[in-house]
Symmetry: C2
Subunit: 183 residues, 2 copies
DNA sequence: GTCTATATTCTGATAGAC
DNA sequence: GTCTATCAGAATATAGAC
């Protein structure tokens, strides 16, 4: 492809990066197309040259944000990190607050059911990917009950720790879940 | 108080009941004041005689919906139900779908962080109440790590089972969490 | 207290110049 | 492809009649 369509791809990537971070932090409804385009250094009118609708952007942005969060999470860890090592990083207080490595799985969990199938499919795929990482990237098709419990303790625990308005309870939730994953 | 203010209280209760069910099912942003008032058999203009803002309504409606969900959950159970018995009912497939006894703790979890302190306080109080129920209504001030893990497996598990667009995975999540609470 | 009517703001999406 | 300008609809909140 020529340099022109390459430039378009870069622009689209910039929009997706901005959207991923904004949506993960604020949710679907509190982020406007204006906000996303402004964060990407563009204006509203250019949006529809890249995406057909806000919902379509949301679906793609969830994947983008998940890849980013995954990279930041696993970066300092070994090639095949243990669930304990993952949990120790994932369930950190900074992550429960508005840290830099927000996980869309935890921050958008209850928002997904309200959206269309395209969005729900994207979220489901990402969640399964995280589960397979917890299972050590096995080739097994089935996810074991233990892996699913670890998944819930991580994603659900982080979500509740973020929701709650009591820092002490928030910390206790994170500690309890980390301990439960290890056991 | 006279029958007049008593009638006002009944009207307010009707609004709160409608709001509790609508908000829990659809979230904060997808429910308008119009929707709530219409469901209560009133029109928009009457709203501000009972509540100061939509956010204030939301905070109160979360408590109302939680009480209702709690009653429906514990109704057929013994006076001091075991966590196993609670989990068996709470993590049922009907509850993950749009059953009648929607739990605002699970369905609104990631919506709460976006709202004001009044809302977050209400949610936090309700969550602590559910945790104390799981702990057998002890008088202990502290919540044990095990109770908090059970709380996350129930609330987080139901939230993820609802988010996911894959019925088989949804069922596996519910089963795994129920099994984990029992163990 | 409840109604109708409306002020105001914001949003997603589109049209047309460059 | 990106811009400015705008449409059309929806939302919160308020004003005033009854």
């Amino acid at each position: 492809m020529g340099w022109k369509s390459e430039h378009k791809q870069q622009t689209k990537a910039r929009i997706l990066s901005a959207a991923g971070q904004l949506f993960t932090r604020l949710g679907y409804e509190r982020v406007s197309i204006d906000d996303v385009m402004a964060a990407a250094g563009l204006t509203r009118g250019a949006f529809y040259a890249h995406f057909g609708s806000k919902s379509e952007l949301y679906a793609e942005a969830i994947v983008t944000a998940a890849i980013r969060a995954r990279n930041l999470l696993l970066e300092p860890l070994s090639e095949s990190p243990s669930v304990d090592a993952i949990a120790a990083r994932y369930l950190s207080p900074e992550r429960a607050r508005d840290g830099d490595a927000r996980c869309p799985l935890a921050f958008l969990a209850t928002d997904i059911h309200q959206r269309d199938d395209q969005v729900r499919d994207a979220y489901t795929r990402v969640l399964k990917g995280f589960a397979r990482t917890l299972a050590g990237n096995t080739t097994a098709v089935e996810l074991s009950p233990q892996t699913l419990r670890q998944l819930v303790l991580l994603v659900g625990g982080l979500a509740l720790a973020r929701a709650v308005n009591d820092p002490a309870l928030s910390q206790c939730l994170l500690d309890a879940c980390r301990q439960g994953v290890n056991g």
